[in-house]
Structure formats: C-alpha cells, structure tokens
Amino acid sequence: MNYRSIFFEVIRSMRANKLRTALTMIGIIIGIGAVVAIMSTADSVTATVSSEVEKTGLNKISLSRQYTGITPSNLDDSTIHFLESLSIADVKGYEGNVSVNTQARDYVTGDVSGIYVNGVTEKTIADRNLEILAGRGMITTEENASRSRVVIVNSNLVKKFFYGDPEAAIGEMVKIGGASFKIIGVFKNPSPFSDNFVAIAPIRTLMVQPFNERGYDSISITLDPSGDANSVREQIMAAMLKSRGYADEKKADFSLSSPRQELNSFKQFMNAASIVIALIAAISLVVGGVGIMNIMLVTVTERTKEIGLMRSLGAKKRDIVKQFLIESITLTVLGGILGVGLGILVAYAAISIINMFDQMPKFLFLISGVGIIVSLVVSILIGLIFGLYPARRASKLSPVEALRRE
C-alpha cells in the first residue's frame, strides 16, 4: 500500500473540511493538552523542590525534639557527647540548632510581635548568605563562648521598630523573649512577601535563655557524601531508643528524619499524584475518541461510492481498512501534536504565573518528555481503537452495493 498517497489524500480531505476536522480534534487536543500540562507542571515542581532540598544538603539527618511537654529541652550538649561516643561510621559531625518562636518588644512603643530566633555559630552563619544592609553579618567566637546578647535582625523588624533605617538600628537594644539584645547587624529579608521578624543570635547565648528551655531544638548529623543515610539513621535510632528507654520509635520523645528520605517520598508522591490526575484528564481522551469514531462513520457513509470504486480497482478489504485507519490515526496524531503544544504552553503559563510572585526560589520550567511520548503513543492508540470499527465497516461493504450508492 502506498501510505504516502493515502496520507496526502487524508490531508486534502481535512483541508477541505477544516471546521469539521478542527471540531473533531478538539477532544483529543484538550485531553492530550491536559495530560502534558499536568505532567510538565508536576515535573517542574519536583525538579524545583529537589534542587532546593539538594542545596540544603542531602547528606544530613536531623534529630529533633518531639514535643512531649518536656522542659527543659531533652537535646543538649550531653546528647551530642553521647552520639559522638557511638563512633558511627559515615558520620562527619554533630551540631546543635536552636530555632525558637518567641516575642520581640519595642522599647519605645511597647508593641509586641512574634519573632523567629535562630542560633548560629561563627561558622554556620557564613552558610546563610545574608545580604547585610548595616552593621555586620557575623558573630565572633568570643561572642558565642561568652554568651553575648547580640543579634542580627531582618529588615522587617527595622521597618517596624526603627522607621526602616538600618543604620539607626545598629547599637540599639531590642527585647526578645524578655531579655535585652543589642543589634549588631541588619540583613535584607530574602522574600519581600514575608513580613516575619527574624533574628540571628549566638547559639550558646540562646541555649541559656529562659524562652529556649535550655537546649537544642534539633541536632544536625552530617554524613559523608558516600555514606548510607538509612543505616546511620537505624544505628542512631537504636542507640537513642535504648539509652532513653523507649521500645517504640513512635512513642519516643525525639524523631529522626533525613532529607533524602523525605525527598524520595516527595518525588514518589508527586509521581503518583501527577499520574492519577493525568489519568483523570485522560478520560476526556475517551470522549475525543468517540468523536473520532463518530466522524469516521460519517466519512465512511459519505465515501461509500469511493469505496466501491476502490474495490473495483482491486483494493482488498485490508486496503480499505488501512485507508480509513490511516485517516483516523492522522486525525488523532495531529490532534495529539497540537495537544502537546497546548499542554507545553499551559504548563509554561502556569510556571510563569507562579514565578511572577517575587518569591524564592524561582520555579524551573521542565517539559515532561515521558508525558509527550505517552501522549503521542496514546494518540496513535486512540486513532487505532476508535478508527477500527468504522474502517472495518467500510471494508465489509459489498463492492456492487457500494458502487450503486448515491
């Protein structure tokens, strides 16, 4: 069979019936478009989140306080010493973190606002990449060791307490959680949409403040990049459960999480979610397929006489089947290609709209290759499945009956 000649015949008949062709393909275009848009958006979100999580370090496990009403905190330097004594292979080091939610009070107005306070060491503050507006963006070893009450605050706090003048705030005092802290630096808020107050202080200072319940919120466990996070987590969990006398991880007063595990489960979730949503969108493809079948039945009826003529020229039944299958597959594949284009546009628009809000991080835009391949394969299958019945019906016409039809 000459597929090329039939293909051009199909294209010409589509051109002759532009409106009909467009209406027939709409179902396929929208169905495929939805599938590609959903899968591409999901891929974009997954890629963005993954790259963010990877930036914060996948080679970390976090040991956190499980809130059970225990005061003071059950994580402190003795916990770190205990962990160090385990000498677990693949662990590079342990570090306590303090991150508390308390209140800041304006000395002048007496206004009270919630504030996040983060504890840092002279080393860990360097990782924050702060954009300093005034003063300094570092804490000295001395300040940490002597538990100095110094803070670096964000621009939101300056805006509220010091009329937005960072220079004027330097050297001033602010009351955080009942204690007076001296402002030594001001950093720019990373997100213009956030109006949170944030303060950064020496970690050892924070550990002894009454609002912090004396200890760490969490302990970061840094692993060798080649280390086995699961195995380290198992070992620490076993040792901690034993030393604290818990039988069950679920009842313990601490928890262990690893970003890699969380990232993997996030990826799995996104995959499953996008497939489920894409499948729902794919239902519209069935509707599109029925539209194709309908129009192909009309086409067969319209061309009955042509079918008779083709049979008289020696076309076998399978030649007639092929002819009409090529026609329906051309319709669905063309619809599929247009749908892929539409889906990419919609996904691009969605990501662009998300990125119009000036937050960090920017979302990456990815086109789902799997989505496109699956869509095109599905397009071919729809053309095949929904074209087969009309095509077979055409082939079963008796040549003499077909020729006689007007």
Partner: protein, 229 residues
C-alpha cells in the same frame, strides 16, 4: 480461439421468498480473447447485473462463471480483488475518479493495490496519460477536468495493469458525440492491441464500434449477432 469469459446458465436472484426478483434467468455466453462485444438491452433487462458479475463485483446465484480460467465460485474475496486488479479494467459511466487525489495518483492507484513499486508507478502512469493525450493534466484534480477528459483518464487507469479484459459500462453516457467518438476510438485501439473489450450500452451508435452485439431482454439473451462480415 481461447475463451477468456465463459458463462454457463448464470442466474441471479435478488431477495428471497415472495419479494425475490430474478434479474438473470440463465445466461450462457462465451467471449474469446481479443473480442470486442457490446451488451445491449433496455433498462431493467439485467445487463448491469451481468456486467457486475463479469467484473467480479457481484456473484451469481447459480451457474458457472470462468474468467481467464478461474472459477468465480471458488475465489475468496482477496482473490477476486486480485483479479479485478490484474485481469479486469473498469470504465464506468460516471464517478470514475477518486476526487481528492490527482489525475496521476488516480492512474497510479491500481498499481498501488497491485503492489507495484512506487518508483515504477509514476513513470508508468505518466506514460499511460500520454497515450490518452492528457500528460499535461497529471497534477490536476478530477474536478478540474471536463467529462471527456475524465473518461480518458479512466481509460488510462483501466489499462494501467494491462488487463486482459476491459469492462466499460456506458462509457460515453455523459458525453457529447465528439468526445464520445474520441473515447470509443481509444477503446477500439485498445482492442486492436489484443485486449478483450466488453461494452455495456443502449446506444446503437456506440454498439456499432463492436463486432459482436449481445442483446439481453428480461434476463435472457435474445440475440447474439456478429456483424463483422
């Protein structure tokens, strides 16, 4: 002389029971290789039914039909398609060409079904169009041709597989006398080259191109005359 077509007691009954209608009531007819035969008869005489059976578009209810040595009764659908493709060339009164493909592609189409390589098809189709004087219309579409040109394209297509039999059903029915004569001249030339030509017509003038005339009335042959001499 070798028989290319041999009909023995062919009957064709449409429908069943009370509404049954017998279109052919026992036709026996033999046509030799290289003959030019006109089949004539009034409307409803059964000549079209006979034509369809001859062209393997329809099957007889009873009787034996041998075409080029093949027993029509023993052929399956694919084999009948192959014979229509290779052994029979059809020219119809109207609706001869597929409307959405070019004149050249129309002439090529039987070669497509006959499995002839694409590289050879174009060349052969162009040569065929040249024979009927329509080389310059190769890339036109059927709607851009006159009735006479369409019939000449149909003749070129009917000949393209070099079939033993040309079946022409009122080939000039829609044409004026000048173009009718052109088409009939073409058919006469084809016949001279050795192809068997069978014409179905109700026009005495057209029938006069044939050396033998078979007249059908009410499903039976009423006359079979050879006016060569």
């Amino acid at each position: 002389m070798k028989k290319i077509i041999s009909l023995t007691n062919i009957r064709k009954i449409y429908g069943t029971g009370e509404s049954a209608y017998e279109a052919l009531k026992g036709i026996t007819l033999h046509i030799n290789v290289g003959e030019m035969v006109a089949i004539m008869g009034p409307s409803g005489s059964g000549k079209s039914t006979l034509m369809n059976i001859l062209g393997l578009l329809d099957t007889p209810t009873s009787g034996q039909y041998l075409i080029d040595g093949h027993d029509a009764k023993r052929l399956n659908d694919d084999q009948m398609s192959e014979l229509r493709n290779r052994t029979v060339g059809f020219i119809f009164q109207s609706f001869n060409l597929l409307p959405r493909i070019t004149v050249l592609e129309n002439v090529e189409r039987p070669m497509v079904y006959g499995g002839i390589a694409a590289s050879k098809r174009r060349e052969r189709a162009l040569a065929g169009l040249k024979k009927v004087g329509l080389s310059d219309k190769a890339s036109r579409f059927p709607t851009q041709l006159s009735g006479g040109q369409i019939q000449r394209v149909a003749v070129a297509r009917a000949l393209i597989m070099n079939p033993a039999i040309i079946l022409a059903d009122e080939p000039t029915g829609n044409l004026d006398s000048v173009t009718s004569n052109q088409v009939m001249e073409l058919l006469r030339q084809i016949n001279k080259q050795g192809n068997t030509v069978i014409l179905v017509t109700h026009s005495n003038e057209i029938a006069s191109y044939a050396k033998r005339t078979v007249i059908i009335r009410d499903g039976v042959i009423s006359e079979d005359k050879n006016h060569e001499l």
